[in-house]
Amino acid sequence: MTMSDEHEHHHHAHAHELPVPAPLPMTPDDAGSQAMSEALRSSFAIVKFVMVALVILFLASGIFQVGPQEQAIILRFGKTVGTEQQALLGPGLHWAFPYPIDEVVKIPIRQIQSVQSTVGWFAETPEQELSGNLPPAGSSLVPGVDGYAFTADRNIIHTRAALYYQVDDPTRAVFYFSDGPGSPLGMAGVSNAVQNVLNNALLYTAAHFGVDQVLYSDVGGFQDAVEQRVIQLADQERLGVTIRQCSVASIPPRQLQEIFDQVTDARQNQAKVLDDAHSYENQVTNNADAQASTIINEARSAGVRYVQSVQADAKAFSDLLPNYKINPNLFEQEQLVQMMGTALTNVQFKGYMPTTANGKPTDLWLLLNREPPEPKTGAAGQE
């Protein structure tokens, strides 16, 4: 500003000096030159203003904004300003010298990034996948067009994975990985490297899993193994990323979809047959158990009944013994007749056959195949 002031001063003095030595009437020349100098003076003022404005604009163009999801690094003449964490500028307004002195590199902070695998799936466009209108499956798979993985039991399957990860050190990722020669500084390079690792993990994991494990019996195990392999490779290749999630989907070749489905059906059917057998097993053994406890309980109560009846007999015996001792013969007759009386009321068919005159028994023919009818009022407990 001091320089600018001096200019003003000189200019002022000069303007005063000019008219003094020539107080002559104005010639057209003089008028012309004066007009000229006036014009020049005003144009210089404009130029000056424009220059100052340009300088201000130039400097102002160095203002830049860092968004909430990013950080920035200033490269002065190509070299990072500051070291390590101090080099990183947080969200807000910042200023750097304009190009070509400074260059601002924006770096996304630790956000979750995702990549999809590019090997292992047959050729299809996203539109085809969305609409479900897949191109017809040919009888073979074309290398370089149709992707697939080769399983441990030498089967071909289609498998694909989506991986979610975070970049641990975004600065390193930006300055360490390139996405092709001359590509801008960014995260594309590391993303590319992670994708290669994911592809490799799919191939490697499929190479030691059986087709049935991948598709049916150990789907989760396969996915975990893919993730483990990604973690191992990312560590080995020092990609500087943390794996958050990995999801894998696998299908049999479309050419064989039908027969794979048939296997699934057959296995489900097998399970059903086994289920039926098991329910039969339950039923039969439960029945047997129930029957067994019935048998045992019956034996137990029969035993108790028997003992009780013997004891009752014994008691009757003891009770009857004094009477018997008085006259055994009379007692026996009395008992017998009494018994016969009771017994005969229960017997349905009774026949009396007196002896013949010569004392020999009469021949008697009985039709024994006819069962006597059951009495209408049969006494219970006679069996």
Partner: protein, 302 residues
Amino acid sequence: MKKRNLITIFTAAVLVVIFVLLLFTFQVRQSQVAVVTTFGKISGPPCSPGLHLRWPWPIQQVYKFDQRIQTFSDKFSENLTRDNINLIVSVYVGWRISDATNFLNSFPNGSIEAAQGQLQSLLTSAKSAVVGDHPLSDFVNADLQQLKFDEIQDQIEQTVQTELRTNDYGIQVEFLGMAKLGLPESVTEAVFTRMKSERQVLISQAQNEGRAEAIKIRANADRQANETLADAEAQAKQIEGQGVAEAAKTLPIFQENPELAVFMLRIKALQDSLNQRSVLIFDQRTPPFDLFNGVWTNAPNP
């Protein structure tokens, strides 16, 4: 006029300074490395990131190289395994310019394309050599101990790395891995046929195994049920025996008068035998029918 000159001079000076700076300096970015040649000859070590001085063209020329890791996927090639199986193998390589001077010496104008071409040919021969050393069972194997996947990758990487070092290409391989592993198109068809017959075997296996297992389960259930019943019957017999033994304790009472005891038993047996389905036929000697005797029979009276 002085002031006008001053402005002009100042502006001119600024322009000259900018021009001179453009001519006599160059910048190397953080991710780069630069090599300076003087009259075509490499002068001095590679320049690290920052501002550097130079003589203008045509005296000196600056070659800047990206020093970041470049990931390069090679073209797939067919290779025969040791057991003569045609495999299609493609690898990805993470490589980096490790020595910019050697790199510039090896490839005209430091062309990345030329370097990738060189890498491609090294990879092609390394793949064919390494794959030919391994049977297919080293590539795919259910047993992780026998799977040589990582060894194969390492061998390809070592082969390429050695070539790069002995030829001073100025390139270093940071990592290498399998990017594709497949079979020639015609073979995939044969694999499909084999897979189909394997599936067929699995289907009949599932059916037969299910049936056989079900029969086994049912037979086992029947056997178990029979055993349970037999056990129960044996136990029932034992309980019966215990009952008899228990009842036998009362026998001494009957000893008091065996005649009565026997009589009672006989009466009981008779009573038991006369259930409702019996047919009884008596003659007059049976009490109480002996009362009929001589009353209205035609028998001679003794």
